[in-house]
């Protein structure tokens, strides 16, 4: 079952073609990774798919319905949530409040009724459970500004996961993380996939990509230059050269 699909996406910034006729689909319970050199249009693709950019041409479908013109909040409320490359948290708030903001993506869990004590208690319980899932339950009251880089990344993941998304869109979730934090993020991605969440992942670390991705899409200068089952794409010498990973041995 296809969760999110895009056909013929084009995006142009002045004279630069950022996306050139990109097709993509992510199924229920599948991890699709997008790789490619810097400036190949990976983040632009995510921005177009999450309603932050409106593509110049092309069509985007969520669960079979057209969402090409849908703004970011509407997409989020229909189950498309994302994290950012630069890890955008709400700096003046604590970890719990950051996660509670993520509950706005669940239109059933009454943001307007949330001042009622029992509704507030249920929402807080959900947010704490999401923090627990990323291993930060004890730091719920810490202002995110004082958390470590890895912890901040995990708060962002908790904010994305708290509303039970249909598709999780991750922009370089392991960039700058320690090996332990990287493993934690990898496990979270796998756990989400096993629960049936579709995952679209932009990632530089090809080890992570190899460990979690079912399918891979390779972008270069805005165009899809390779794509398919993860193992065969990663084995492609041309792809490895493009991503500057020629020296890395691919595990059998």
């Amino acid at each position: 079952m296809t969760t999110l699909s895009a056909t013929g996406l084009r995006q142009r910034f002045g004279g630069v073609v950022a996306l050139d006729d990109v097709d993509l689909s992510v199924d229920h319970g599948e991890v699709v990774a997008v790789i490619g050199p810097n400036g190949s249009g990976k983040t632009t693709l995510l921005n177009a798919l999450t309603g932050i950019l409106r593509p110049d041409a092309g069509r985007i479908e969520l669960m079979g319905g057209d969402v090409t013109a849908a703004p970011a909040p509407r997409l989020a409320r229909r189950g498309v949530v994302r994290t950012f490359q630069d890890g955008r948290l709400l700096e003046s708030l604590c970890a719990l409040d950051n996660v509670l903001v993520g509950l706005h993506a669940d239109p059933r869990d009454g943001a307007w009724r949330g001042w009622l004590p029992w509704v507030a208690r249920r929402r807080r319980g959900r947010a704490i459970a999401a923090l627990d899932a990323v291993g930060l339950r004890d730091r719920w009251s810490a202002r995110v500004a004082v958390l470590s880089h890895g912890q901040r990344r995990r708060v962002e993941l908790a904010r994305a996961l708290v509303a039970d998304p249909r598709i999780l869109v991750l922009d370089e979730p392991t960039a700058g993380l320690t090996p332990e934090d990287t493993h934690a993020v990898r496990d979270l991605i796998v756990a989400a996939r096993n629960r049936g969440v579709a995952v679209l992942l932009v990632e530089h670390d090809l080890d992570i990509v190899g460990a979690v991705a079912d399918r891979i899409l390779v972008l270069d200068a805005g165009a899809v230059v390779a794509g398919g089952v993860a193992r065969s794409v990663l084995a492609d010498a041309r792809v490895r050269h493009l991503c500057g990973m020629a020296a890395v041995e691919q595990p059998a």
């Binding site: 409320r77 950012f84 955008r88 700096e91 993520g102 706005h104 239109p107 999401a130 719920w140 039970d164």
Partner: protein, 333 residues
């Protein structure tokens, strides 16, 4: 079909949530803020005089206005310079209904809140398109237009001379005529508004406002409808400004357009910034400081002009970040 909650984690039991709620309770000094506010509000009763009561009433009315403005600037991060216009809408609604249509004080209050809400939402519409200093300039223009409306819509507002002989406020059959009664009314309204805005701050809507303030893009991607939030914040602050206008009109007997000028909007912003952006109780302190300064300077017109000029300069410097940089340099030195 959607997946299970937050990673298939068992929901927290009642005891765990209670422990959480207990550890979430604010520190003692924070919990003492409301009692401290009420205690401070009783001080004028210890030194009763018409002058003290009148000053305290102005301070409480300004505080209502400032606490309402906290919703827009403090919580939602939108810089508006049209707040005096909303105050005027509340005051003119009250004055017009009670003098020309024989409405009761309570009806006028409801209408002032309603029109304030509506006017606030309208003033908030430009925030859907522009932000930051551009929004400030547009709201500045809207504020001027509303003041021109007060001046020229003579049949409703009485034009330049305004509206006189506004009856004293009367609620539940009690008419409040003395300086003391009017002060106590304004102070009661302040306590109600402070509690309401604090509740708003802790609600999901208040949290969404703060998300808009901190990072609009992240908020949108988390499902926060930022446009709805901005217009709601303006509308709610307009409703509170309507209450302040009602208090003002009831206490002052006669109102006229010059009161609701841009300088008052700037002063309200200064009150909120004096108290620390976003701090509800801080805004009350800021309002008390500005009201006292203004009162002390009424006999020295040059001093009053200097105060208002300084307020405008302070706001411009704050917008440019110069105030914060200067304070940090002082702290380092």
């Amino acid at each position: 079909m959607r997946a299970g909650a937050g990673g298939g984690v068992a929901p927290l039991d009642g005891a765990a949530l209670r422990r959480l709620a207990a550890s979430a309770r604010a520190p003692v000094w924070l919990r003492l803020r409301l009692p401290a506010l009420v205690a401070a509000g009783m001080v004028p009763l210890l030194v009763p005089s018409a002058h003290v009561y009148d000053l305290a009433r102005v301070a409480a009315t300004y505080a209502v206005l400032a606490v309402g403005y906290c919703i827009v600037l403090g919580l939602c991060g939108q810089f508006s310079v049209a707040h005096a216009a909303l105050y005027g809408v509340g005051a003119y609604t009250t004055a017009n209904l009670t003098t020309q249509h024989g409405a009761s004080s309570a009806t006028a209050l409801l209408a002032a809140v309603g029109f304030g809400l509506l006017a606030g939402a309208l003033i908030g519409l430009p925030a859907l398109r522009v932000r930051g200093d551009q929004l400030a300039v547009i709201t500045l223009g809207i504020g001027q237009v509303v003041q021109l409306l007060f001046l020229n819509w003579t049949s409703v507002t009485g034009g330049f001379t305004g509206i006189s002989d506004i009856p004293a406020p009367s609620l539940f059959g009690i008419t409040l005529t003395s300086y003391r009664d009017n002060y106590l009314l304004a102070f009661a309204a302040l306590v109600i508004v402070v509690v309401a805005v604090e509740l708003l701050r802790r609600s999901p809507l208040g949290l969404a406002f703060m998300a808009v303030r901190d990072d609009e893009l992240a908020a949108r991607s988390a499902g926060v409808r930022t446009g709805v939030c901005k217009v709601s914040a303006f509308a709610l602050s307009g409703a509170v400004a309507g209450i302040a206008g009602w208090l003002y009109a009831g206490a002052i007997i006669s109102i006229s357009p010059p009161t609701f000028d841009v300088v008052l909007s700037v002063l309200v912003a200064v009150m909120v910034l004096l108290g620390g952006q976003g701090r509800v109780y801080g805004a009350v302190v800021g309002a008390a400081i500005i009201a006292t300064l203004e009162n002390a300077l009424t006999e020295y017109p040059a001093g009053e002009i200097a105060l208002k000029g300084a307020a405008i300069i302070a706001i411009v410097m704050w917008r440019a970040g110069a105030l914060r940089d200067g304070l940090m340099r002082l702290r380092r030195a």
